[in-house]
Structures are given as C-alpha cells and as structure tokens.
C-alpha cells in the first residue's frame, strides 16, 4: 500500500508493473488516471495549480486505502497525486488497485477516487483567459461519495 504526493509526473505503466511485482495471485488490476482538461464548466483552462496540506494529505490518502481494504478483498493499492502547476492534458492523479477478482478492484478503485475527491486535502486554482480563481467543491462529488455509505 503506497501513497505519494509529488510535483513530478508519473508513469502509469511503470507504476502498475511495480504494484504487480512478481505476484501470481493477482487476477485484476484497475487503474484510474485523472487529467487536466482544457475546458472546465465552459471556460478554457490554461493552467491548474494544486495545493495540499503536507502531512494531513498523506494520512488522509492512507486512510482511504485502509477503508477500501476493510470493504473489499484487495491485494495492493497505490495513490499518486501531483501538486504544483499543471497544464491541460497533464496527469493529476493515479489510483491503482490489484485484486484476485475484477469486482473488488473496480469498486475499490472508484470508492478511493470518490473519497479522495471529497476528503483528501487538495485544492485547485484554475487559470483561464479571464484570470485565476479557486475551483468550488461540487455537490456531485459529495453525492458520488455518499453512494458508498448505503450500497456495498
């Protein structure tokens, strides 16, 4: 179980391979990559700056992995999240989950993203042709997280 917050980019293929190592009990690997879009709610995005709370952010990401582990049979999990200044098409976040079976891997990966979006201390500032502004939290993200409180 690994958690990293970094300014550098990440290599999805490499990260998946490192997570798999030489294990032969993995039947399914699900990965999620979040990227900077050049259009957000109608605005042309030129730049995105990500801030975090060193210490708390890493604890929060570890806690999200641990929650996923108690709910699903997962073998390993990785979260890498970038901070600093990013451009459209840059990678922001990577979540990888390995499991014996696909159902657990899919659910755990989506659960981790939904919790990361609403509970991990990261904040985005967007720059477009009109200037800079902090992104507002979306109620859709809260609803995505709250689904997991009722369904299994």
């Amino acid at each position: 179980m690994t958690v990293r917050v970094q300014t550098e980019d990440f290599d999805v293929g490499l990260e998946i391979n490192q997570l798999r190592q030489a294990r032969k009990d993995i039947g399914a690997v699900v990965s999620f990559v979040g990227l900077v879009r050049d259009l957000n709610e109608g605005d042309d995005v030129t730049q995105l700056t990500l801030e975090h709370y060193p210490g708390m952010t890493e604890k929060s990401l570890s806690s999200i992995i641990n929650q996923a582990k108690t709910r699903w049979n997962i073998l390993d999990a990785l979260i890498v999240h970038r901070v600093g200044t990013l451009q459209p098409s840059d990678q922001i976040v990577l979540v990888v989950v390995s499991s014996a079976h696909r159902g657990d891997a899919f659910s755990a990966c989506e659960f981790m993203m939904d919790y990361l979006k609403t509970e991990a201390p990261f904040w985005k500032k967007e720059a477009n042709s009109k200037g800079e502004h902090w992104i507002e939290a979306k109620s859709a993200d809260d609803m995505a997280r709250d689904r997991w409180k009722i369904e299994k």
């Binding site: 979040g34 801030e51 709370y53 922001i92 993203m113 201390p121 990261f122 904040w123 902090w134 939290a137």
Partner: protein, 85 residues
C-alpha cells in the same frame, strides 16, 4: 495554551497567512470559539471564517466540526472544501 495554525488555498491567499503560532487565553476553546476569536482581527478575517464561505477545520490532521475541542500544543488548520483529484 499554545497552538499552531495553518491556512490553505483561498484562506491562505486572502488572510495572507499560511501558518502562525498562537497563544490563546487559558480556557476551553472549540473550533467555533477559535473562529470567533480570529474573526475579531478584522473584516477579512470575519468574512473568511464566519461568513458565507464554507470553512473546514482539522485538528492534528483530522477533520473536525465546529464543536471539536482544541488542546494545548494542537495543530489546527482552516481550509475550504477540498477539490483535488
């Protein structure tokens, strides 16, 4: 008692503080009481901490609500709802 304070994102930018060491009068402090205490520093503090903006708080890296009690030596943080991922 002494606490360490952190501000993030819009709060940090507007208050022009990222962190500070704060000496509080020796009495029981909740997050809400600390917000009110800081709000007395002036308009922008009141707007940021007691205004329309949603503010979330953490004590020692754990998300807490307004009723949470602060102890001597705690690390307290104020920030907007999170928007990563």
């Amino acid at each position: 008692m002494k606490i360490k304070l952190f501000y993030f994102a819009r709060l940090k930018e507007t208050l022009k503080y990222s962190t500070e060491d704060l000496e509080l009068p020796d009495e029981s402090f909740t997050i809400l009481k600390l917000k009110a205490f800081l709000a007395k520093r002036g308009d922008v503090w009141g707007q940021m901490l007691m205004g329309k903006l949603k503010v979330r708080a953490a004590i020692n890296h754990e998300l807490v609500d307004d009723k949470a009690v602060i102890n001597d030596g705690d690390e307290v943080a104020f920030f907007p709802p999170v928007t990563g991922g």
